[in-house]
Symmetry: C2
Subunit: 325 residues, 2 copies
């Protein structure tokens, strides 16, 4: 099966690496809005102009769209779904229902199958919330993120005047996390769950107090959290904060039995050295499933909730039953 990548940033590179780890796939090419000759790929993958993509309709089984959720994906995914089986990692949770409708309409117009919001959250974390809730209908859910770099929050800091570079780590409070892991079910506000640690490189002569204040009071991003701001040099940023680790925890504690006398805790957790490479690996496993489901005649938009786990694996159903069940 032939995969193509549309958009070549950190996530696109993660997908490129992942396809190389899966013997049943090959990478047809990378489509970019930049000048193709300026793009250096990891495995000498061919690079094409994004504008030419419709010329390759019959050579691509699944197109993995690696754009940003703010402005790229709401445009790209519905439009490309008319011509290709597509996957994206759209992660603006509140806008998933409308994005779903748009992509569904596009995919149905073209008779294609599309998958949105794949990755780990939304994605594997969502699947685990669903399994846990279906098994334990009477219970309480918690999701903790981190310790890891939030690219959205880092970008928000970078937009402040006088900021040259920034990195934001989301950090769950260890005592709170441990209480939930023990099966306690506290009521938690946003502020109780996560600390936001910011490392900032300021322009020469910038007003550090103003920058710190603008970060800490920024609505949606920081105002509802305890936030620390540490100013560092460009060298320190490069040396200590150049990787993109992330992870987190989905935990559900629920009750069963006569008088709900028994308690059960289900936990799913990730510890990732590279957020974009892990996300890319989820997208590639989903591409395999999408290709199979599409060849059974399915069209329209789906999510990871609609994929039977067996379809994600390169192993046959018989091998799966013999070795993994």
């Amino acid at each position: 099966m032939k995969i193509a990548i549309y958009g070549y940033g950190n996530l696109g590179r993660g997908v490129e690496c992942s396809v190389h780890q899966n013997a049943d796939m090959e990478l047809f090419g990378i489509f970019t809005r930049r000048a193709p000759e300026t793009v250096k790929t990891i495995y000498n993958t061919p690079v094409y102009p994004a504008a030419d993509i419709l010329n390759y309709k019959n050579e691509i089984d699944v197109l993995i769209i690696c754009g940003g959720s703010a402005t790229d994906l709401p445009e790209m995914t519905p439009a490309l779904a008319e011509h290709f089986c597509v996957i994206d990692s759209f992660d603006t949770h509140a806008k998933i229902p409308s994005h779903f409708e748009n992509v569904d309409a596009g995919a149905k117009r073209g008779g294609n199958l599309a998958l949105i919001s794949a990755g780990w959250d939304p994605g594997m974390f969502s699947v685990n919330r669903l399994y846990a809730t279906a098994i334990l209908p009477e219970g309480t859910d918690y999701t903790f993120w981190g310790r890891g770099v939030s690219q959205g929050h880092s970008d928000a800091i970078r937009r402040i005047e006088g900021v040259k570079d920034a990195r934001q780590y989301t950090v769950p409070y260890p005592e709170t996390l441990e209480a939930v892991q023990r099966g306690e079910t506290p009521e938690l506000t946003t502020r109780d769950k996560h600390l936001r640690e910011c490392y900032v490189v300021a322009e020469d002569g910038a007003d550090l107090e103003r920058i710190e204040n603008e970060i800490k009071t920024m609505p949606n991003y920081f105002a509802d959290y305890n936030t620390t701001v540490t100013f560092i040099t460009e060298e320190e940023m490069k040396k200590n904060h150049s990787s993109l680790p992330h992870g987190g925890f989905v935990i559900r504690t629920g009750k069963t039995g006569e008088g709900l006398c028994h308690s059960h805790t289900i936990q799913y957790s990730l510890r990732l050295d590279s957020n974009p490479e892990f996300t890319g690996s989820v997208l590639v496993a989903c591409a395999r499933a999408l290709n199979r489901m599409s060849s059974r005649g399915m069209t329209g938009c789906i999510t990871i909730f609609d994929i039977a786990p067996a379809d994600l694996s390169a192993l046959s159903p018989k091998e799966l039953r013999a070795h993994l069940l």
Copy 2:
């Protein structure tokens, strides 16, 4: 949708409790090989003789078979699959392929859909092994069980002459588990992973040394493990060892990126106060999916690998996307 239970031991009671927690289901009744009037159910569920079950073919949507894997299920599931949509929790891993073939044949003869080996291992642990392997094809898997009661091992001890009662706890070695959780990938033998703790009530005057020796050298069950044996009184057994807790960990560490430079650890874990009630809750969620998949016309045998997560949930696809994705 109407559920019935076939076999009413610990697992059957767990299923009875779980159905009462799910508003979209009702419990038609319990079928037992005992005299129905001797069976006391938790929620006054009607009890019928197992021999009469074919009289109720049209009144049951899904039949959950709660028998033992050693002798009950290999007979019951293929036979009942000819007449009902059935689910079992067959857990003899090595015999799953042949059980699958037998149930598949029975279900196809009757035009029914059947699901085998649901629960947590096989079941949710298997699903997590599959997801993790599909996402990180280059990696290492570990499954740890416990701390919890193994009913099979407890039964094996009870069969020794001079043993009145016994309880066996499977206990993962904490340092080994923690090393794997940190992302280390040691090569581990059976003996390195789990300790087997046995609590035994002996008959008056029994030869304790012989019993301890018979336990520790029992092939398949104990010979390959470090095993401790503690003799206790009947009162201590009742007071301290009457519940059936269990749980465990599925952990995969895999590598991605250029030169496989990045490491990721995926972990799924369960801490269960009651093994049969949690297993029963998984079976009931699977019954919902089976009923839906059957009404789409599917027949034959499937496993939890073939169920799209959305089918397990009482929520609509739209609600799932809005609230859990």
